[in-house]
């Protein structure tokens, strides 16, 4: 069991998210986090999933995802050198006497205070999940009133992108047989 980071490029149409999530559900996976937004190609959305599972099981679902007509590309970034980040907004109880302490922690984590009120501050913190977790541990004693995390977004380091594999323009990639060659970004398996 490892945590897998799966990236899917999909046509931005109604119901696609539902269809893809459904493929994970059918195989009994729990999606740990999910982030969706526009990609570099107009009309294509990029989804980033994190799921826990064995490589074989995750590969199986990745292949199932290609059954969703709108799916253009699926890539498992797990074994790649990647940059991944999460953003959190944290509403921390901040009585005037505690503000100094909170500010100090915010500084150490290179976070930002984006809102101040009489009894609370909202802090924006960006980083890996571990960093966000560590930050939350530090501010917890002051009191966390509200918390929102975006879930992981990820990108492979270097020149490779899911779309730029072997000059593929949404053509050959769809029916690439499994078990041929080593896994790499942008290939199905």
């Amino acid at each position: 069991m490892t945590t897998h980071t799966i990236v899917a490029l999909v046509e931005n149409r109604p119901g696609v998210l539902n269809r893809i999530a459904s493929k994970w559900r059918q195989r009994g996976f729990n999606i740990e986090s999910l982030a969706v937004g526009h990609s570099e190609v107009p009309g294509l959305s990029r989804m980033t999933f994190t799921v826990d599972g064995t490589t074989t099981d995750v590969d199986q679902v990745s292949k199932q995802m290609y059954k969703v007509i709108e799916v253009v590309k699926v890539a498992d970034l797990t074994e790649h050198d990647m940059v991944h980040r999460e953003l959190a907004l944290v509403k921390v109880t901040a009585a005037p006497k505690d503000r100094g302490g909170i500010l100090e922690i915010v500084d150490i984590f290179r976070a930002k205070i984006v809102d101040v009120a009489t009894e609370t501050v909202i802090v924006e913190v960006t980083g890996t999940e571990d960093k966000v977790d560590a930050f939350l541990e530090m501010v917890r004693p002051f009191g966390i009133k509200e918390l929102v995390r975006t879930g992981r977004i990820a990108m492979a380091r270097g020149g490779i992108t899911p779309m730029a594999v072997e000059g593929v323009k949404g053509e050959e990639h769809r029916y690439r047989p499994a078990g041929e060659g080593k896994a790499k970004v942008g290939t199905l398996i």
């Binding site: 046509e11 119901g15 269809r19 459904s22 059918q26 292949k63 007509i69 047989p177």
Partner: protein, 570 residues
């Protein structure tokens, strides 16, 4: 040309060459029905329940290879299609289902007869659409047929609100379809095909497992060529039956839970298993870790998600079966495997599996075998699900491709009645038998009215053991004979048929079996024959659930009364 949404649907159906729509009207698809008189070449068949519309379209598609079309209204009409859609999904059958929906401004407001049918059918359709703009309708219809029939086929559903059906727009038929994210590729990987040819060359004990994909891609000649060239025995899965001629010396029948004993043993002995257009279903493989444990596996399938799903594959080839075999066959070196054939033949002689004991009672398998014997080679056979289905599969040694129509993956009882309707419409001049269970027949027998209305000459052989036979057998074998809810009060099937204006016959003596079948075949109209068969006959061979193929039990009963029959040589 200005057309309404409903007319656009009909125009698109006409251009796709649709002959039949199986459907049922209701409030939300009335505009569609309103246009029917303008399109006299497209025949609408009124069924008695929407499930039957889907099953009939499904069987029509399996026989003709074209997409089947069914219609239903919103809400309950659409949800009644669901079983039929799931059935088509599991068996990779191209269906185009058009449902009417509540008017667009009521969607999501629990309008009368509203159901979120695109949501409900999401996991059992290859694609579905809710059309909210009449200008998208033509493109959607075109895409639907394209998606349903290409790659691994499957059902597609289009939900059209009533107001969209009524709105007018300029109609231009999209001549081409381009879905950037959907480009199924037929051609197999050449390197992989060469590797497969090499494995076939090295193999001493090769086997072919041929599935539904052979029939879907109509690769009959290619499969035959491969088998004959390299002298490889061909085992057909339940849905693959009819993909290889039953009278061929290399045809071995079905494998798996109720397959031929010799096949289940041979799979264990083989050193190469070539899966062609099949998916290594659990009913075929038995316990996975013991499946074909001495063999390398070559897997040819159009769906990449099937590769490696159940078994570990030495050489996967993703592509259309016909295209792959056309490329593979010239690379395969001619060979003979006499020793291997003799080995299988020896198991066959020791375990004849489907020899029928000569007893006084009417055995269900005897009836089914006689239906085949008397029907000639151009007949079509539709079955329900259960014991009779497995017997029908075991005794199916016919040559006619795509002439065995059965619900495989989903195992839908009741399929036998509406599917026979679809098969008969697809082949109006051919004899169509529905080999039915007494349980399944009662699930969809309302369709006898449809059969009477359209004067379809379907012959029903109800294998009536007064039990849900397969469930009784499981309760008997695996639940200490604790028979629960399997013995049911039966209607008088003969009088029931007559109530629909259909001829009915009852057969309770063995000597009447053949005359009744002959009489039914001669009768110009539909016939329902109630065969009162031995109630406690168990189905063999049988592999216990969760067991390995090697644990298959061959016929233990009636051994002394058996007259060994050489199978495959009628």
């Amino acid at each position: 040309m200005k057309l309404t949404g409903a007319q656009i649907v009909m125009e698109c159906l006409a251009r796709e060459g649709v002959e039949f729509i199986f459907g049922y009207p209701g409030g939300a698809n009335l505009p569609l029905y309103d246009t029917l008189p303008q399109y006299p070449k497209i025949r609408h068949i009124s069924v008695r329940h929407e499930q039957a519309a889907a099953h009939a379209a499904d069987a029509y598609s399996r026989v003709t290879g074209k997409a089947g079309v069914c219609w239903a209204t919103s809400g309950p009409g659409a949800t009644n299609l669901v079983t039929g859609i799931a059935n088509a999904w599991m068996d990779s059958v191209p269906l185009v289902c058009v449902t009417g929906s509540v008017v667009s401004w009521l969607i999501g407001r629990d309008g009368f007869q509203e159901a979120d049918i695109t949501g409900i059918t999401l996991p059992i359709t290859k694609q579905n659409y809710l059309v909210l703009d009449v200008d998208d309708l033509a493109q959607t219809m075109r895409e639907a047929f394209h998606v349903a029939t290409t790659g691994r086929p499957g059902p597609v559903l289009i939900d059209i609100p009533r107001d969209i059906q009524q709105q007018e727009t300029e109609f231009t038929y999209p001549e081409t379809v381009d879905i950037p994210s959907y480009k199924p590729v037929a051609k197999g990987h050449s390197g992989q095909i060469q590797k497969a040819a090499q494995l076939i060359k090295e193999a001493e004990r090769p086997l072919i497992l041929a599935g539904h994909g052979v029939i879907i891609s109509q690769a009959y000649d290619e499969l035959k060529e491969l088998a004959e060239r390299a002298h490889i025995p061909v085992i057909c899965t339940l849905l693959g039956l009819g993909g290889f001629p039953g009278s061929h010396e290399l045809f071995m029948g079905m494998p798996g839970m109720h397959g031929m004993y010799w096949n289940n043993m041979a799979i264990g002995d083989a050193d190469l298993v070539i899966g062609i257009g099949m998916r290594f279903d659990d009913r075929v493989t038995g316990r996975l870790k013991d499946f074909a444990s001495n063999a390398k596996i070559v897997h040819i399938d159009i769906d990449p998600a099937e590769i490696g799903k159940n078994v570990k594959t030495a050489v996967p080839i993703v592509g259309d079966v016909k295209a792959v075999l056309q490329e593979l066959n010239p690379l395969v070196e001619p060979a003979r495997h006499e020793e291997w054939m003799a080995h299988i033949q020896k198991i066959r002689e020791e375990h004849p599996s489907i020899a029928i004991p000569n007893v006084k009672k009417i055995l269900p398998q005897y009836v089914i075998q006689q239906v085949y014997e008397q029907s000639g080679k151009d007949a079509y056979f539709v079955t329900g699900v259960g014991q009779h289905q497995m017997w029908a599969a075991q005794y199916f040694w016919q040559d006619n491709p795509a002439s065995f129509i059965t619900s495989g993956g989903l195992g839908t009882m009741g399929f036998e009645v509406p599917a026979a309707i679809g098969a008969q419409f697809a082949r109006p001049k051919n004899l169509v038998w529905s080999i039915a269970g007494d349980g399944g027949f009662q699930m969809t027998l309302q369709e006898l009215a449809t059969i009477a209305e359209y004067e379809l000459p379907i012959k029903f052989a109800i294998i009536n053991n007064n039990f849900l036979g397969m469930v009784r057998q499981w309760q008997h074998m695996y639940y200490e004979d604790n028979l629960q809810s399997v013995k049911m009060l039966q209607p008088d099937f003969v009088r029931l048929a007559e109530a629909f204006g259909i001829a009915g016959m009852r057969v309770s003596e063995k000597e009447d079996v053949i005359p009744a079948i002959e009489k039914a075949i001669r009768h110009p109209g539909a016939v329902v024959i109630d065969f009162e068969v031995e109630q406690h006959e168990d189905l063999f061979p049988a592999m216990p659930p969760g067991a390995a193929l090697a644990e298959t039990v061959d016929q233990p009963k009636f051994e002394e009364a058996r007259e060994p029959k050489k199978v495959g040589t009628r």
